[in-house]
């Protein structure tokens, strides 16, 4: 496909060129952003084990994804977690750039993890499990939340198969997002037209399927996360509030 893109193989060159290349637009046309808060029910197999809330909102001069998850009822006794994650990003010349990823658990400070991106210097500073490290950036980076931006761009530009650098557990791995097609899915008492993507990550057996609202390409209607033979974890949309 002919489009400007960021790719690691172009970057065996001096860092000044790296910074220049990193500023190239990733998307020919901007994916429009609109703030929303969506609530989800969380299922493991056939069990309803919790709830989650995903939001996209402007944050100072930036934008921020935020996901919080809560175990429900009896499951809260066994799952001593209140995990949350935030991904802050900017858009410069239509290019989506992550600024910071924060992952944590309100009940477990040891689970705190962060990654800060310095695009001018071409590096990411990671704090994970109390250890700090620097990771070199070679191309645009996505994570489990900003991946929705990539999916929206793929829908907008009809790209079917993209491999990108992906932040996972303090490292950058190759991640592949494949557009599978359209499907009608049941959300509440409605059938909604969804565009379906499959994500796989290098070095991981987890397969994630994202079902996006065809009329709102940034809004996941359903996210199915399956590791090996385990029964999948499923986030299913309950309600969405769009903000002006």
């Amino acid at each position: 496909m002919n489009r400007p893109r960021l790719n690691g193989r172009y970057f065996s060159i001096p860092s000044v060129l790296l910074a220049l290349c990193l500023s190239l637009p990733a998307f020919a046309e901007e994916v429009p952003l609109r703030a929303f808060t969506a609530s989800y029910s969380l299922h493991k197999g056939s069990m309803h084990i919790g709830t989650a809330e995903l939001s996209l909102e402007p944050f100072e001069q930036l934008w921020r994804w935020r996901l919080t998850t809560r175990a429900r009822g009896i499951y809260a006794v066994f799952v001593h977690k209140k995990p949350y994650s935030e991904t802050t990003f900017s858009r410069v010349q239509d290019d989506v750039r992550l600024q910071q990823i924060v992952i944590g658990d309100k009940k477990d400070e040891d689970k705190y993890e962060s990654a800060s991106f310095d695009w001018e210097a071409g590096r990411m500073k990671v704090l994970r499990k109390g250890k700090r490290k620097n990771v070199k950036l070679a191309a645009a980076v996505y994570d489990y939340q900003s991946i929705h931006l990539l999916a929206a761009a793929m829908q907008r530009h009809q790209w079917n198969d993209e491999t990108v650098d992906f932040y996972r557990k303090g490292k950058l791995v190759k991640s592949r997002l494949v557009y599978l097609g359209e499907e009608m899915i049941d959300i509440g008492d409605r059938q909604i037209e969804a565009r379906v993507f499959r994500q796989t990550n290098e070095g991981s057996r987890t397969v994630i399927r994202y079902f996006y609202d065809a009329n709102h390409p940034l809004l996941p209607l359903l996210i199915e996360n399956r590791k090996g033979d385990d029964s999948p974890s499923i986030l299913r949309l309950r309600e969405v509030n769009w903000r002006l």
Partner: protein, 216 residues
Amino acid sequence: MSDPLALAILISGSGSNLQAIIDAIESGRLNAEIKAVVCNNPQAYGLQRAAKHDLPTRVIDHRDYANREQYDTVLQQYLQSVAPDYIVLAGYMRILSPAFIDAFEHRILNIHPSLLPAYKGLDTHQRALQNGEPRHGVSIHVVTAKLDDGPILLQASYPIDAGDSVEDLQARGHDLEHQMYPQLLGWISEGKLRIDVDGRILYEQTPLERPLLFNP
């Protein structure tokens, strides 16, 4: 020789099934004429394949339309002007509206990467692997308003081996697909397989009670 079967082929991507049909026509194995190649994606490689063979192409980009009904109305009008005997879905990655399917009832064919009725919908290879299936396959069926649910005409299966990946299954399935569409369309063009206006399916003058099995 009877008149060639008039086909309209709908694609969204690389068009490898389109190529298999083109090759079968050009080699004389299939008595058919491709009246139109319609694509919703202007960047699809299948359009280049069609152009190389001087086939009439039409891009109807769904992003230019406010909703599915508007898009399908334009698609329907164009296809009615082409007047194909059959509309062949060959990697067309859009849901068709009930009104569109109704307009071409019993004349839309689809190829689906599973042994229908198992694994309707998307991502069939991944789902079959996850469920530890011993076999997977390919089905060609008549399209009805219900997804992947119309009468199954032709099926082929292949084994899933330990350590197979999605890509392995896709490659095995594609090999079969590229043989199955020309075979099935050949039977239709010869009159060996007939789909009546009321949807009744006859194979060698006998009602088809179960899918035909494809043996490569």
